[in-house]
């Protein structure tokens, strides 16, 4: 056998991918007929491709959700507020139409996913607000916490984030996927804003988790049937520190005594 008859690993790959020059196909096929190990590998690689296509191929036939409408996405050029308005409108339409009759939605998002989406939406909507970012200002903290706890029917807490350089701007009551939600806004001296959104949820407990959308990101968790979403700007390292501090305080508060 001379060098021309030897088949390399890369040629075997190229054979599987139909990338082989025509004059090498016959050589590779002859090689495979006399090298069962390589023939088995080629078969295994083809099987991998089959598994991948089986697992992910359906997306090619799935109607993309409305969020991918190019008209809507291109409106984002006119600024973040237009995008917020568009997604808020889409969200309202989604609520009005209901998930089940919404033919294009093939996967119903979990409460927690809807919760974090709402929280990020509220973050984007209110943190850009200069004159009326909150309903009740942070200097009325006890009143704010008492009011929101009453409306949610469970004690809520505005964590102390002074050590993270954040002061409470205030809060407001918002609609959430499962009922009323409490919304607290914090701000640091350079004007970066972070928000905490919380409300009831039936899911079990989770650890601190991360999600992102656009320029913003959030850490979220569930503790004693209450979901919390701490949102902030994505590109600063502060978010995790702030979320961890809030998580620790709320975790400590709700921990069983003893």
């Amino acid at each position: 056998m001379n060098d021309r008859d030897h088949v390399s690993e890369e040629e075997l790959n190229a054979y599987v991918d139909d990338e082989l020059p025509a004059d090498r196909r016959g050589v590779v096929e002859a090689w495979l007929s006399t090298h069962p190990d390589d023939a088995a590998r080629v078969a295994a690689w083809r099987k991998q491709a089959e598994l991948l296509c089986h697992r992910y191929g359906h997306l090619e036939y799935e109607m993309p959700p409305p969020r991918f409408s190019l008209d809507r996405l291109s409106r984002r050029r006119f600024g973040a507020l237009a995008a917020v308005a568009a997604s808020l409108a889409a969200f309202m339409i989604g609520v009005a139409a209901g998930w089940t009759v919404h033919g294009m939605e093939t996967e119903k998002p979990s409460d927690l996913v809807r919760f974090t989406n709402d929280a990020l939406l509220a973050y984007r909507l209110y943190t850009v607000e200069v004159r009326h970012p909150v309903e009740v200002t942070g200097d009325q903290r006890p009143h704010l916490v008492q009011w929101l706890s009453k409306r949610l029917g469970a004690p809520v807490q505005a964590p102390e984030l002074d050590k993270q350089g954040l002061k409470l701007v205030g809060g407001r009551l918002l609609p959430g996927p499962t009922g009323p939600s409490a919304f607290f806004m914090y701000e640091n001296p350079s004007g970066e804003r972070f928000t905490l959104y919380c409300g009831h949820i039936s899911n079990g407990e989770t650890a601190l988790r991360y999600t992102s959308g656009g320029q913003n990101a959030a850490y979220y968790w569930v503790d004693q049937n209450m979901a919390y979403v701490l949102s902030g700007p994505m590109e600063t390292g502060k978010l995790h520190e702030v979320a961890q501090a809030a998580y620790d305080q709320i975790d400590r508060r709700t921990a069983p005594p003893g």
Binding site: E10, E60, L70, L73, E107, S110, G213
Partner: protein, 162 residues
């Protein structure tokens, strides 16, 4: 709708498929696809004909790489997997193809998926990844061997997080 937009729109299902397999997380994948589309729409003036799909795959691959870099800077984060989301599918629990993908480096995974799932040529993948064809071929070969070893039940190499 302009021809440019029509071609972008036609590519959305394939972009979602690639992103889903690349990130193994439905939400993250769709976020990246959305960012890809926004970026493409803004960069119409930068697109001088040629293969629209390869161009979009390039944007998506780069956005995902940036995302992983950002994640890498945040140490104490649990994976972006919502247990409620349908990420694991019916074949979870054992050594399935999704878990096998986790064994690969990001470059290997991207090369394999672009070839196998998206039917790009080696040349197109080399453009998307910005590396010579030879590098694409060795990434592919390694990816396939790694997956085969994993599915055959060998212990995964201690590499993983990338």
């Amino acid at each position: 709708m302009s021809e440019f937009r029509e071609r972008i729109e036609a590519a959305i299902p394939a972009l979602r498929r690639y992103a889903r397999a690349l990130t193994r997380d439905a939400e993250t994948a769709d976020d990246i696809v959305q960012d890809t589309l926004v970026r493409a729409l803004r960069s119409e003036h930068l697109f001088h004909g040629g293969d629209m799909r390869a161009w979009l795959y390039t944007i998506l691959t780069n956005l995902n790489r940036n995302r992983l870099r950002t994640l890498a800077r945040r140490p104490v984060v649990s994976p972006i997997k919502d247990t409620d989301a349908t990420t694991s599918g019916p074949d979870s629990g054992g050594r399935d193809i999704v878990r096998a993908l986790e064994m690969l480096t990001e470059e290997q995974r991207s090369a394999l998926l672009l070839v196998v799932l998206e039917s790009l040529t080696y040349r197109e993948v080399s453009e998307v990844q910005g590396v010579p064809i030879g590098t694409v071929m060795s990434r592919l070969a390694r990816a396939r061997n790694e997956i085969k070893a994993y599915l055959d039940g060998e212990r995964p190499a201690l590499r993983r997080v990338k």
